[in-house]
Amino acid sequence: MIPAGSLLVAEGLRKTFGSTTALDDASFSVHPGEVVAVMGPSGSGKSTLLHCLAGIVRPDAGSVTYAGREITGLSDAERSALRRSDFGFVFQFGQLVPELSCVENVALPLRLGGVKRKEAERTAREWLERLEVGDTARKRPGDVSGGQGQRVAVARALVASPKVVFADEPTGALDTLNGERVMSLLTDTARRQNTAVVLVTHETRVAAYSDREIIVRDGRARDPERVA
């Protein structure tokens, strides 16, 4: 059963890469402002599920409905426009543009949305302050620590007030303390602005920041709360 009022719903997702079945009848749903952890063994299909939900990868079968609109049938251009306007992303590493300063990186989603440079960078600075990395503003990503870089990435994911943030192992490269900080900053901010978070993680302490978890096993996603 799909809970009423879901923002993003996937049903019967199937995806194969050559002879590998990455997703096999996977289902998922998230409400506005809800933080859902996606857990499961390595290779079970978590990242593939996230990529399908975010419109990065087109599933072989099944549907992804975002805000009442089926998105698997959209063109590449339409899907990337949707990603820019409504989604934010945090990955394990390598996501910031190395040639841009941290403040320019954070301002990027706003600039792509048509906000003027000065205003975009002012807002970006506020976000860096909020995530306790205001002093990285003029540095390049290569010149800040992993923990700082990850906070910059979280700022960038949230700056354009997305409806959904997709985070794939956002704390994977961080030590415990930094991981905890990043998670509490990410989820506090997301809850405050009613942003849903799809959080892929294999760390249970990280998953404990979620409202609910689903488990992916052999490409099948199941929601322990929905089985009962």
């Binding site: 506090d188 249970t204 302490r205």
Partner: protein
């Protein structure tokens, strides 16, 4: 469970009391089960063993010791007091008595109510507490022995653990440093439990073939 109970459990472990060298366990059965089937769960363990078919008292004790009591066999007295409690509660019935008649000669059979009781016990997640994997281990083995889904049992337990971890994480976020440290201490222990749950889930097939061998 209070921490003193945990300490007693460790102090009683035959591995600490018995100075004789012991054979290394073939698998984790012994490590986890030496003193771990608590009084509470002996009844359920015996019931679970009866599900495969009726057994005499002595046979039941032997089966229990083999599975769960290598380092700490049941006393006959424990078997009989447990069985008379189960009889009184209608979870088992006497299925026959061998001539010569001590209580060990009674043959017990599980009743429908008994099967339901085992079912409920397996399905009910344990309250998260330190070092509870041992009880969980017993549940997993019994689920495998009785053809129930051990994977579902592990998933249910995992959800229960995560529920507590969420509560602690929430408390940590709104609390002061002392709250944070206390919650973190508990969180790391729960995380260790969860790793065990995951590892066991990943090894279920292997465990199933050993248990059923």
């Amino acid at each position: 469970m209070s921490s003193s109970a945990v300490r007693v459990r460790v102090a009683r472990s035959p591995r600490f009391r018995d100075p004789r060298p012991q054979r290394r366990p073939r698998y984790t059965h012994r490590v986890y089960t030496l003193s771990t089937v608590t009084l509470m769960s002996i009844g359920h363990a015996l019931l679970g063993l009866l599900e495969a078919g009726p057994r005499h008292g002595y046979d039941l004790k032997r089966a229990f010791d083999e599975r769960f009591g290598q380092d700490r066999p049941l006393h006959y007295g424990q078997v009989y007091s447990t069985m008379s409690r189960l009889l009184k509660n209608g979870l088992v019935e006497v299925d026959g008595v061998e001539s010569g008649g001590g209580p060990e000669r009674k043959r017990y059979a599980i009743t429908d109510a008994g099967i339901t009781d085992v079912e409920r016990w397996l399905a009910r997640p344990e309250k998260p507490e330190p070092y509870l994997q041992s009880t969980l281990y017993t549940k997993v083995v019994l689920a495998l022995l009785t053809g129930r889904s051990a994977a579902e049992l592990l998933d249910g337990q995992r959800a229960e653990h995560l529920r507590l971890m969420r509560i602690l994480t929430d408390r940590k976020r709104s609390g002061d440093l002392a709250d944070q440290l206390i919650c973190d201490h508990a969180l790391f222990h729960l995380e260790a439990d969860l790793r065990w749950l995951e590892l066991t889930a990943a090894r279920l097939d292997q465990l199933a073939s050993e248990v059923r061998a």
